[in-house]
Point group: C2
Chain length 230, copies 2
């Protein structure tokens, strides 16, 4: 039994949900609002971040990168052709480079600010940092997104999947972060056809469906969000 402490719009949580889905592992989702700094949650992950994966009889496994490596070691290796990591150390280094690109750099520059301003702040009290979204922060994040989208497009034109021939964690991480801000209508898809075509392929996978069913009261997704061929 796997339980994932997550938030529906946390890009790192979405990444792990995609990975679990690709490996055919069911999990029970429990929403965690990290800004509430719940003490029981902090005991599971002192860093105070989502996702955290809970397995029967095991200590909590916190953090998207830690969970992904754990899943690779405990489920990926045996799946050979459907493993989300390539076969050689050099190719795995490229996957990890890109996963870090999205989970760290893209998150800091784009998806973190946009999700915080437009989603999390709705749920935060004033003391927790809630309130109206900062237009300055959103403008900067949207400007950063344009060069990131061009980079994804460049990768998608050069390779079959972002890190090489096969689907890997790199595709899932990138698509997870994009999906969270695509719900907000923030991705200028018309700026890069190759990036869009790659995203449509990832979005069409069955593992993606649960993400497309998430919705936020009072903030409907744009029409193309759930459209698999937008």
């Amino acid at each position: 039994m796997i339980t994932l402490l997550h938030h529906a719009f946390c890009p790192h949580s979405r990444y792990i949900r995609l990975a679990l889905g690709e490996y055919g592992l069911e999990c029970e989702l429990m929403e965690e609002r990290v800004w509430e700094r719940d003490e029981e949650f902090l005991a599971l992950n002192p860093a105070g971040t989502t996702p955290v994966m809970m397995l029967d009889g095991e200590p909590p496994i916190p953090g998207a990168d830690v969970i992904a490596e754990y899943l690779d070691e405990t489920h990926g290796l045996e799946r050979t052709s459907r493993r989300l990591m390539p076969a050689t150390a050099t190719e795995r280094a490229e996957v990890r480079r890109l996963v870090s690109w999205f989970n760290d750099k893209f998150y800091n520059e784009v998806s973190g600010p946009l999700v915080t301003e437009r989603v999390y702040k709705r749920f935060m009290s004033a003391e927790q940092g809630g309130g109206a979204p900062s237009t300055d922060v959103m403008r900067a994040a949207r400007a950063n997104l344009r060069y990131h989208l061009a980079y994804i497009g460049w990768l998608a034109r050069t390779r079959n999947f972002l890190a090489g021939d096969r689907l890997t964690y790199a595709d899932l991480a990138a698509a997870a972060h994009l999906s969270a801000i695509d719900y907000l209508g923030d991705v200028p898809w018309n700026e890069d056809e190759a990036a869009k075509a790659w995203y449509v392929r990832i979005k069409s996978r069955p593992s993606f469906r649960p993400l497309l069913n998430e919705w936020l009261a009072g903030l409907p997704a744009p029409a193309h969000y759930i459209d698999l061929d937008f």
Copy 2:
């Protein structure tokens, strides 16, 4: 032949130098000043960060976490008792959790701001963000350091090494970040005896010696920096 593009006071570069030292791998060091945004360097690592590891006939391997996993796969596995990762997936998850704690959280809250303000800014032009260090930023980082030091002390009192019985990447990452700011005299060692005793053990390892020989013109280290029994 290994070449490491690094900076002497970049904590992530220090972490990889320790790992290479523990594995007995010699490397040639080439200083990289990331704030100059050199185009040749950005072609090796578009994220623009140090360290980057170069191996003959291989693509560049950028980023401390990516390099550490690569070294584990290519050199650690065969070393069994001296491997810097434990044997089980659950134990490795704990190592990776702590490595991320230091490479991401400690860096963002403590070592990054202190090294940037006190070291990098000396070399930056005004356009690159150089100038006098910000006392506000330094004060906040030093305040954060105190709770991090208490956490290290708690780990050191609970376990033989930070992640368990044996020396792992977690100890090297923690010690690397601490060493960079210890040069600056910023660590209040007298606040936590257990943290200090653990650090003295790591600092006494031969892999640490090259770090203790680094120095910065115009900014001498405090006397205890090179003292193995301070």
